[in-house]
Structure formats: structure tokens, C-alpha cells
Symmetry: D2
Subunit: 324 residues, 4 copies
């Protein structure tokens, strides 16, 4: 069985299905397919399924918006509202719950800057509810926002910074925003995953100091992730797929290719590619040319989704009114 | 006696001297005037003097470099070395002391972005000394760096973030970098103050949660500050001074102006100006037109000074080698 | 008679009025005062008036929006629509007229970056109407956009760059966007001047190579300007005014001040201040602390105004759809 | 014979060699291999060779610095000096020759922003030699600098803007800086090509309006290019190569792969990949994760090289003294 890692629960499930598993006990899936937005809710209910998918028990909501990259304002607003609706379903906020929004990632690397960009755009209110409560509405919850940077910039584990701040300000909920990697190019910058299991980067021993979840932080952690890159291996593998289909279409199904096609499944091939790749190549990333403006757009979408969901009484049109 | 506040101990002393005090008991001053760099070391040794100057007991070193704004590489390097020398005198670091550099201020407001810019440029090593000690030299001390943002951006008191992180990573020393306001236009972007008393923004009751010093953080706090703006009142006041001298020079010392000149001292006039200013005007700041590149240069100077002083064995020329 | 220069025709008129002129022959003024937006249309019809105001014969529309700095989306949209309406009145575009938008100023100096920011945000269509006319609507005019930089950045006179490009692409109209200086702090970032006389920086001999108008470029030039700074002298002068009113209010109308008050009018005093100011001080500018976000907002407002006015059939809500 | 395009003359030659051509008449090659920098000078002397390589008659100097990405200051300076030396060899500047530096590319797309970044950093002197000649040295040549943007930003063909400006300021030489694509991942961000044939993007009919060379501009055009991305097809192809070598090494040389290996050469395979690729995939680019800081470093290297070569009497250490 392969050990290919993916950040998306949806893809983890796909991998197992590609390997031949028809249904996985302890995994419930619910699909809500609209004209332009498709919502898939994967719930992992049993430890055996968690192990099989490499994801903790919990809820994983994937919002797929194939045209999200196209700078369509209406679709962007619809996506924000969808995010808000799913967030409200997933969290169980009281009127006065306080929320800390954490923007993970490196603000100097464009496709990794999604989290820090969202914290810049989100409506921050905690200081107002604390110092000038008379100036703001009852419908505003106390929200704070932090971009802790990455280890190479600060010299400090991200989780240490967050844990330190949580100990001081004691929020009721953390929402962490992060850029992910996908194993399919088509999902890049068009997919949003929301989960209630926090951030669980590695499953290796001793790695738990990097986790951001209820175990390490003592409070609920919602994670919102968007795949913004594919790695070089994924890209190479997808390309080979395209080549094979291309060749077959053109009738070039000579024995060599058919043999190759049959000899490896997708995940085995990806493992092989990873094996032969040098470190230099592994350091490469694949992005659309206009990644700067795409990250800008998607961080708008997520920030609006957060604003609507966290503050009852705030409407789509209001959000820009509150933000400097 | 006036209660005009200034961030520079040197200016606090000047104010009292302008008010007629010849010497202040409990204040020792030592001046080291080079061709292009003047160092003034003010030591406040008694509580009475601390009260009189509005500054805690401790050391305040002011490095004045009138030509610092002129983008002269040699002078910039000399200034970095001067900062390093004074920092080494002021701190008492062991070979393995760990240092947290804190860049205070708002990265979205150019003249306030000095601190965050320095943290971006400083050599961060804590993660290397911890995870890959074999890859780095003995002469490298563990340094981490953090820009906590400001209340309006995060919704969290800066001191809460720093206290939270200090509790987790337990550094031996904090060095906080901050942009200051000066009461003289000529000091803007050409003066560096280093003190061992930390950051003590207000002396009012209940305001101590904003202090960053040994009392609040439990460890030594060095503060490095550079005045990068004057406020509108200071500017107006300086202008009036210039007008008066100009008029006097031109023989226009009519009784009205002489009377005005005599009726107020500098600090009284500044108080009056502050009184008549509207909030809108108080929100104005005065900076040189090329503030963007000046802040870039000065943050280079301070980052180099920090790198040389914190890592024995690192030379001026090496610093850029270590920084990405 | 004073020779104080101002970029705003409205202020030039004010200066003469302060000097005692009740009405100026050859100047027609029409005011349109709404609840939150005040439009003043000054038309200079005679050469004598042009000389008196230091402005060429032509139309000068000033749109004053005192609350424009407050990030109010509705007011920003209303201002964009007002700009569009006045632009349409002032230009006489045919369905297929081509327009070159020129963003003047230095993109490295925040308050001078207004022009370049507008060119970044405006809907550029000339290449589409030329290469893929079938893909766009009839209601889209060919618009191109250029930020020529400033002499210190390029080593080339701005007007040379624009003239060179105009000779090649032969637009029917130029719209130049520029950051101005005001002589009143309250007008900063809240006033938009539209004129059909182009950019006429100096009236001195030999200076005409820097002019951008029908004489130098051979086509109509609309100028849109926003005061984004006041200079140090203006600020000092305004402060003195405030001090005097403050003193008078507090009953401190001692003879000295009244004498001073009477001895100079506003413009004389400004001249005196300029005389006594050093070059260092003249290089200072006065801006609100949050100038970065204000310039962002106003460039949005102007870009939207341009988009609506230049492309019949484009609505407010559409503009963001077209812009990447 | 394949028609695969590459921006590097060196690679064009490699392609023909891979296709079996041992030596190409009309192409002279001279290699200068240092410890860390390898210089290859390719001279195309005959039209037949120009046609075969898809490059005009002229000189193509390739400077390969495999470790350039590693932020080594000494190597960066050595590379700047190498660029300067080759530029001086290639141009034939008189003491008062005037030079226009053109930074091609889109400043909003990081790996395409190399040219604009160089123009920002280069020493611009034309306005000084013109307006204040007494303030500068005889050893300073008049240099101007322009970033014309790209068609999608301005709506104007880049070549139209440059031609317009050239017509006005009449420089003696243009040096155009551009980001290129390579067909080998290892060359990305470590290779600099200098040629005296200008920019010749396409060989198709009617495409000559985009050329920047002596024919279109009337003056000599030096082009400096650095590959900063590979496209998705190149990456996929390189990956397949790595996979094949990996398989062969592991003894997996089963008949299918050997057959595949033999059935296509490199260029045929690249054509096939391009055929099967969708437009979405073609829009992807492959870059190292830290592309932002790499582009910063390489633009420093090129700007320093230009400064040293264009101004006799300027030394490496001086360059930063002149630049704001």
C-alpha cells in the first residue's frame, strides 16, 4: 500500500480508491454539487479509517470551484458565502466566543503567502470589544489575527509562537489558514478544504510539536487550506498521464507504452519519480504565471467568508466597510 | 515644569536644561565626539533624576550621525560598528546566551516599519543551533526574531504576544527595535538611541501592561530606537523658531515678536500648539520625501550592528553572506 | 501681489480673494453642493484672468469630498460616478476615440504614487480592440496606460517619453493623473481637480519642455489631480493660524499677537516662511500616518471613474470584473 | 528536423548536436572554463548556420555559474565583473556614448520581473550629464533606464514604446534585459546570455514589429538574458529522462523502456508533450520556491555588471554609493 501524502482528505480517499478499495469503513461522504461549486463532506469516524487515509478522525469539507481562478466577482462572492455557511455548520460559536485567526506560511514566497494575506484582510475586532465596546455592535465577536511566520524567518517553531499567544489571550477557537500542495494540477487555486481537526503536518514520531490541534493547544482548531502549488513530481506524473492518453488517442499504443501503463499504478509511479528526483528538483514548485493576483483573489474570498461567518449581522457588502 | 514627552533621554535632559536647570543630580553624561559620529552616554543613577526626566534609571546611549541620510556606505558601516561596540558594552552576553530580537511597529506605515524591517534582515540562527548545531560555528549565538505587529492589525497587545513567546522559548535577552518621534527635525533618521531600560511607553497608572522591561518580561531588555518622524506640533514649533530667527536677522525685531519670543519658552509653546491642534492635524506626520529608501538604509545599519555584536567572529563583510 | 503657486485653480482664486479681489473678470464659477460632495466649476475665459491666477484659459472642476479618507464604500462609489460624469462633460469622445492614460509621479514615494497606481488599476483595452476585436464589446473604447516614471529614475524627461509614445500610437486624448500639493491641510486626500488644460508645471521661460498640453503633444490633455501632501511651509502657516485663533478664543489677544495678525496676510506670511526655511526642511512633507491605504483607496476611486466614463455600457459593478 | 525553440544559442546548438550534427559550418565556439564560472562564446558567422539554429548572425556569450543561486557574495561579485568584461568586449563605446537600458518583462510576475528590477538598480546618469555636468565625473557616461511593461499592462506593444523613446532621446546603444525560458532545469537562475543581436522573439512573418534590433531601432542592441523558468513541457521531459536513468541504474531496463528510449529523441519527445498539453497546463511555470530572493540577487549582479562596464572609473565598491 502506498504512503503518498496529500493535504486533502478527498485526495487521500481517491488514492485508496485508485488502489482498488471500493468503500472504506468508517468514512462517510456526502456530495452537494451545484452549477459552479461542488461541496464534498468527508467524515472520518473510525480510527482504522483515519490510519488508512493518514488523517485524524473528524470532518473534512472540500469546496471545489473550477472557475475560481477567473476573477469572476459573482462567483467569488458565492464562494465566500459557501465558506461561511460551512464554517458556521462546523463550529459551534456562542455569541461572545473569541476567535484567533492564524495565517500560516511564508509571506516572502508568493504561493505560501495565502495565510498571512488572509490575516491582513480579515476584520480584527478583539481590541475594540475589549477597549471600546460601546463603539461596536453586539453582533461583532472578538477576533484577533496573527501571522507567526516560518522557522527560517523567526528561528522559532510556529507552534511555539501560537501556543505562547494562546496561553496569554485564551481564545475559544483557532482558525488556521494555510497553503497546501495538491496532487492534481486542476485542483490548484480552485479548491478550499475546511476541517475541524487542525493542522497535523507529519505522522512521524517526535513531530507532534508542530501540530496545531485540540491536543496541543487545548482548544478547537479549524483549518482552512487551499492547494496553491503542485510539486515537481506531481506535475511530472500528471504529464506522463497526459502523454499516455495522447499517444493512445493517436493510435500509438505500441507494446512498450501499454506495458509501462500496466506495470505501474499512479501512486507507484509517483513514488518512483520521487526516488529519481534530485533535491534541487524537489525544491521546484509549479504555479500558474499569474500566481500573485490569484493569491490576492483567494485571500479576499476566504477573508470575506470568515468575516460573514464570525460576525452575525455582517453582510457581504459590509465587509469592505470595516477593513482598512 | 513642563510635561512634554520625548523618546530620547538626551532630549529629556535638553528640555530641563532649556528650562534653566544647569545640572541634574543623579545624571552622568559622557560625550565621545568623532568627526562624523557623536556618542553621548547618559546614565541616570537616581530615582529623583529618573522622575525629573521621565525615564527609568539606566543607561541611554545616543549615537548621532548627521549625514546618515546620505547613503554613504563607509559611514553606514562605521555606524554599524559603533552600534555593535556600544551593544557589547551594554550587554553581558555569555557564549551561549540566546537573544530574541523584537521589531516593534506597523509594517504598513513606512516610518513605523523600522523594527519589522530589521527583523527581516537580521541573521536568525536559533533553529540552526537547535536542529543542526553541527552545521554552524561555535561563534554563532542562538538568535530569533519576531515582529508582533500592532494592536490595530492583530487585535492583541504587543506585550501579550511577546510575553507569550518569551514564556515558551525563554531567551536570555530581548533586543527591541522601535521607531521613535523626535522633538527636533534635525535628529530624524540620523540618531540611534540604545538603552538598557527596555520600552516604557507611558508612566500612567494601568499602562504597565504595555511596558517591555525586566519587570514585565523577567529578562533584560535592550531598546534600540531611531526617531523617524516628528509630529505636526514639533514641526510647527521648529518653524516658528526659524521664523523668529529669520525676522530678527532681517531686523524685524518689532516689539510684538520680541514680546512673543519672551513670553513663552520652547516647551510652553509646544504645549500651546498641542492644545489648539485638532485631532485630524495630530494624526499628521512629517517625514522626508524619500522616507522609503531611508528606512531601508537605517534598517541595514542596525541589522549589521546586531549581527556583528551578537555573533563573535562575524565580520562586517560576512553579514550579507548569512542572510537570505 | 503675491506669487504663491498652487496646483488647484480653486486655491489660486482663493488667494486673490484673500488679497482683496472681490471678483475677477474672465473667471466664471459655478457651484454644485451636495450633501457629501461639493463640485466647483471654475472657467477661465480671458488671458488677463489666466495671468492673474497663474493658470491657462480653460475649465477646472474641483470635486471636494471631505469624508473621502474614511474608507466609506458608498461614498467612494458616488465619487467615482461624479468623476465619470464630469469627465464625460469635459471630453467630447467619439465611439471609437482612443485614450492614453498617463500616471505621473514616482512610484517609490507613497504620496507621489497616485498616478502610477491608477494606471495599474484602469481597464486597458487597446491591445484587445486591435488584436482580438471580436472578443470585446462595441462599447469598449481603446484605452492604453503608461507610467513614465520621473527624471531621477529614468534619466529621461517625462514629457519626452510621453511625446515619443504619442508619436507612435497616436491616441485621440490623453488623461494624465498626478499627485498635487495643496496649501490647505484639509484638502489633502479629499479633493479631486479635473481640468482640460493639461499639465503646466512652470510658467518660466524654457520650461515648456515639461508641459503636457495640446501645444506640446498636439492632442487634448485632461489632467486629474489630487493633493496628497502639504509642504512644510503650508503646515507651519496653518499651524500659526490655528494658534492665533486658539489664543484669541482664550482671550489672549494681547497687542503683540493682534499686531502680528494684522501685519501680514496669509500669502505674505507663507512667503516669509519659505524664505527662512532651509533646504532640508523644504524637503519634508506632511501626510496622514495611514497614507499607504489612503492612496490605495483614492486610486481605486479614480480608476473606477475612468472606467465608467471611457467605456459606455460599463457599470460600476462591472469594473472589477475586467481588471486583473 | 525539430523546430523546438530555445532562447539560448548554446541550447540551440545542443539541440542540433543531439540530433546528430557533429559540427555546424558557420558556427565558432570558444570555451573559457574557470573554477566556478564557465564562459562559452558562440559566434554565428553564416546565414545557413543562423537558419539552422534559429538565431541571427552575431555573438552569443553564455556565462554559466551553477552556484549563483546560493547567495555567495564573492561569487556574485566575480559574476558581475565577468559580465562587465564581456560587455566591454562586445560593445565599442566611446567616452561619451549614451546608453538606454531597457528592462523587459512584467513586474507583477516574479520570474518575469528581472528586467524591471535591473532598471531600478542601475546607475542612471543621463539627466545629470545633461543638466548638472559639473557635478559628475568625466568617467560617467549618460545612462537612462526604462521598463516599458508588457502588452497586457499598457495596451501598447513594448517595441512601440521603446521606438518612441529612442526617436526622442537618440541613444547610441540599447541594452535590453529580459527573463528567458530554458529547456534544462539546471540552467535556471544560473546562466546569463549576452548577445549583440538584440531581441528577436519570433521568426514568423509579420512578427517583426516585436523585434528590438538594429533593423527596427536603427542602433546597436545588446541583449542580456537569464532563464528564470522552465515551462511545464520541459520539466516533464526532464523528469522522464531522470526516470529512465533511474530505471536503468536499478537494472529495470526492460524492453518497453529501452524501446521507448530509442523510439524518440529528446526533441521529438518535447514536441509530443507540447501536443498533448492543455492550455491550462501550458500556462504553468516551474520555479524554485525562493524565486523572490533569487531574482533580487541576480538583478543585483547584472546591475553591478552594467555599472562597472558602462562607467570607466567606477569600481565594484563604488556602485552602491551611487544608487539610491
Amino acid at each position: 500500500m502506498s504512503s503518498i501524502r496529500t493535504d486533502l482528505a478527498l485526495e487521500a480517499k481517491e488514492i485508496r480508491e485508485e488502489e482498488g478499495m471500493k468503500s472504506i469503513p468508517g468514512v462517510e461522504t456526502d456530495v452537494d454539487a451545484g452549477a459552479r461549486i461542488k461541496i464534498t463532506r468527508v467524515q472520518i469516524t473510525e480510527e482504522s479509517a483515519a490510519k488508512l487515509l493518514g488523517k485524524p478522525i473528524g470532518n473534512y469539507i472540500t469546496i471545489e470551484v473550477p472557475e475560481l481562478r477567473k476573477n469572476d466577482i459573482d462567483l467569488m462572492e458565492e464562494t465566500s458565502r459557501t465558506i461561511a455557511k460551512e464554517l458556521i455548520r462546523l463550529t459551534n460559536l456562542k455569541d461572545d466566543s473569541s476567535i484567533l485567526i492564524v495565517g500560516l506560511g511564508n509571506w516572502n514566497v508568493t504561493p505560501d503567502a495565502l495565510g498571512p494575506k488572509v490575516t491582513e484582510k480579515v476584520l480584527v475586532t478583539r481590541h475594540m470589544t475589549e477597549y471600546v465596546p460601546e463603539q461596536i455592535d453586539d453582533s461583532i465577536r472578538p477576533v484577533s489575527a496573527l501571522s507567526p511566520g516560518v522557522l527560517g524567518i523567526t528561528g522559532i517553531e510556529t507552534s511555539e509562537i501560537i501556543l505562547g499567544v494562546v496561553n496569554r489571550i485564551k481564545p475559544d477557537l483557532i482558525i488556521a489558514i494555510d497553503a497546501l500542495a495538491s496532487r492534481k494540477m486542476e485542483r490548484v487555486n480552485s479548491t478550499i478544504q475546511i476541517s475541524d481537526t487542525g493542522i497535523n503536518p507529519g505522522s512521524g514520531v517526535g513531530n507532534n510539536r508542530k501540530e496545531l490541534n485540540k491536543d496541543t493547544l487545548g482548544i478547537d482548531v479549524i483549518a482552512i487550506g487551499v492547494p496553491t502549488v503542485v510539486d515537481a513530481a506531481t506535475m511530472a506524473n500528471d504529464t506522463i498521464d497526459m502523454m499516455i492518453s495522447g499517444f493512445l488517442k493517436e493510435g500509438k499504443n505500441n507494446s512498450a507504452f501499454v506495458e509501462m501503463l500496466n506495470s505501474f499504478n499512479n501512486n507507484e509511479r509517483l513514488s518512483l519519480i520521487n526516488e529519481v528526483f534530485t533535491d534541487d528538483v524537489k525544491n521546484l514548485m509549479v504555479t500558474p504565471k499569474e500566481i500573485d493576483s490569484i493569491i490576492d483573489d483567494i485571500s479576499d474570498v476566504i477573508a470575506d467568508g470568515l468575516n460573514i461567518s464570525l460576525h452575525p449581522g455582517i453582510e457581504m457588502d459590509d465587509t469592505s466597510r470595516f477593513i482598512n
